[in-house]
Amino acid sequence: MSSTNLPIAKAITAGLRDAMAADDKVLLMGEDIGVLGGVFRVTDGLHAEFGSQRVVDTPLAEAGIVGTSVGLAVRGYRPVVEIQFDGFVFPAFNQITTQVAKMHNRTAGAVHMPIVIRIPHGGGIGAIEHHSESPEALFAHTAGLRILAPATAQDAYWMTRQAIECEDPVIIFEPKKRYWVKGDVDPDHRPELSPWEATVVRQGTDATLLAWGPSMPLALESAEAAAEDGIDLEVIDARSLAPIDYPTIIASVKRTGRLLITHEAPVVGGLGGEIAARISEECFYHLEAPVLRVGGYHLPYPPSRMEHAYLPDLDRVLDGVDRLLEH
């Protein structure tokens, strides 16, 4: 009954607000997140509601933002950091990789790092350089981090809450191009589904299509287009990128015998490779075709008037499906 219809951005706002109301150790840090409410308005209203001690407009320095969050976490706070765009996470890379990820292990569990790093990511928004990237693989390789990629408003709300409650650091890659797409959110009933589990969002028999975050609508659209050609795709939303929920994917692939992975990041060295390698190993005797990947090219993200050719789209995914089924 309590479900409301919200754009993904607002679902995150609600998740942040409810987390802050529930636990006064939760605080937000970032550039322009205060009075402005963030360049995507995700923190809109929170500064007015919680004040500048809990919604902190920081100096313009990502290492400083993440680094001070580490100290706040040691002191018992639960900082939620906003990185303004995917391409600006790199100045904080050292803090994330050598500090956030390792402090719990370094102190043999004495210190927890319940830090959430929110990163609006992905392309297709006609932006300038450094505003359209998908660097998830660069974090998934580092033990100590967890990564979530919500694709729906409901996940956006609950993953925000669950990430904040998690005692480990969590990076949330938010699908920026879909911030204003609406969906039902039920903030009153905690879902039974763990945030670390993948979900089969469409059942099918001919092949499995795995995607996450910004690529989910494309995956579903592709399944419908394929259905018109008589191909029945099973679609999985990975949801968690670290850890990856292999049992769900393996169960599906063992049924369908085929797997296509699509993501916006370049295929070379992308997360799809890790998943393909593992599935190829675990489902060796079930695979009727090699695991295929459709993603970005091994290029810097191109200028926006070329991005349609760079990003996976319906045709490229269907082409992948065709190649998968040719086997």
Partner: protein, 382 residues
């Protein structure tokens, strides 16, 4: 804060600056009436291009535009303070600098339109590309300056060939650690680089006071790098400060930091809504300090400008805007296959394979439908 031109255009004497501005530089100094008129024209021109770019964005011709309205004196002044041989390292809102360096405005628009990530050859125009990852360019500037030292074009006593670097970053970007590291390297190696901040009061919605509680100019003193703070809406103060600094750097005396106090009159970009974080009264207050108006008043006081010149500038500015309009509207979208060309300088098998795959994939559409513009058609189907 050094100010040479008061709001009403009156010029105050300043021994050090006057020596540089009125001294024998090229054709009789940097502040001859003719040059002053030139600066005026430049500011009018670049403002017109800037306003046109905003409207091109509204028309969907650009993905985004970052206006530099209000910062014309800070940019035209600094641009002309540099000498031909100097290397300039901009951030992404340096349209006046680029203009003064002879970079055609449409080139600036390429990256905002989304047809390239740059638009010019940095070495040909002695101007680094616009840089988006804030602060990252500051160490580049220092490295280039270290190259100058090794090339023997620093401190030889020849200001016409000795070379320096002008490195720009915003008040917000000043907080990035890489800017501090640039200070460290510049100071350590006494590199011929002038750091230049247009403190336009805001970093998107965050006021400069969050980046520094003391005048930003003070920052570099932590490294023993001398600094000066000038009125950034006063083209003469900027010109003098940056010229003095660059000449000191090229003479081998090490880095200098110049902070120009100015104001971002427009929103941060066309995606921003400044009314959410600053009162319009502040914008109005700064409108009174308009840098173009100030220089015009000064020229009027000198009796060195007339209505005809003003009108001609306006006309040329209008023409420039129209040219820009037509140029951009007439710009064809690049063939996406071009994205494969410059990832690497030398052959790369993976890129080659992917390029082949892309072409084969695109060829499907041509064969299927006998249509030439496969990319377009593909866009439609999706």
């Amino acid at each position: 804060m050094v100010q040479l031109l008061a709001a009403d255009g009156t010029r105050t004497p300043h021994a050090e600056f006057d020596a540089v501005l009125d001294g024998p530089d090229g054709a009789g100094g940097l502040a001859t009436p003719e040059r002053l008129r030139g600066y005026y024209r430049d500011m009018v021109m670049i403002r017109a291009a800037d306003v046109e770019a905003t409207s091109l964005q509204r028309q969907g011709q650009l993905g985004l535009w970052a206006s530099a309205l209000g910062q014309e004196a800070a940019q035209i002044g600094a641009g002309h303070a540099s000498r031909e041989q100097d290397y300039l390292v901009p951030t992404y809102r340096e349209h006046g600098i680029a203009w003064a360096r002879g970079i055609e405005p449409w080139r600036l628009l390429e990256s905002f339109r989304g047809v390239s990530h740059g638009g010019w050859d940095p070495n040909e125009l002695r101007t680094h590309p616009y840089m988006i990852v804030l602060g990252s360019q500051a160490p580049h500037a220092v490295g280039y300056a270290m190259g100058l030292q090794r090339d023997g074009v620093v401190g030889t006593g020849q200001p016409e060939t000795d070379t320096a670097v002008l490195a720009l970053f915003g008040d917000g970007a000043s907080s990035e650690g890489e800017v501090s590291e640039a200070f460290t390297f510049a100071a350590s190696f006494q590199a011929p680089v002038v750091f230049y901040t247009q403190n336009n009061q805001w970093a998107i919605s965050v006021p400069t006071s969050v980046q520094s509680r003391v005048p930003l100019a003070q920052r570099s003193r932590g490294w023993g790098i001398p600094s000066v703070r000038v009125d950034g809406n006063d083209v003469l103060a900027v010109l003098g400060a940056v010229r003095i600094a660059l000449d000191s750097a090229r003479a081998g005396k090490g880095p200098v930091f110049v902070e120009a106090l100015t104001y971002r009159m427009a929103a941060h970009t066309t995606s921003d809504d400044a009314s959410r974080y600053r009162p319009s009264s502040e914008e109005e207050e700064w409108a009174q300090k308009d840098p173009i108006l100030r220089l015009r008043r000064h020229l009027e006081q000198l009796g060195e400008i007339d209505e005809a010149y003003i009108a001609r500038c306006d006309e040329e500015a209008h023409d420039l805007a129209m040219q820009l309009h037509h140029h951009i509207h007439g710009m064809e979208d690049p063939d996406p296959v071009g994205m494969f060309t410059h990832a690497y300088a030398e052959p790369h098998p993976i890129v080659e394979v992917e390029r082949e795959q892309y072409l084969e994939y695109m060829a499907q559409f041509e064969n299927d439908d006998d249509i030439d513009k496969s990319a377009e058609q593909k866009g439609e189907r999706a």
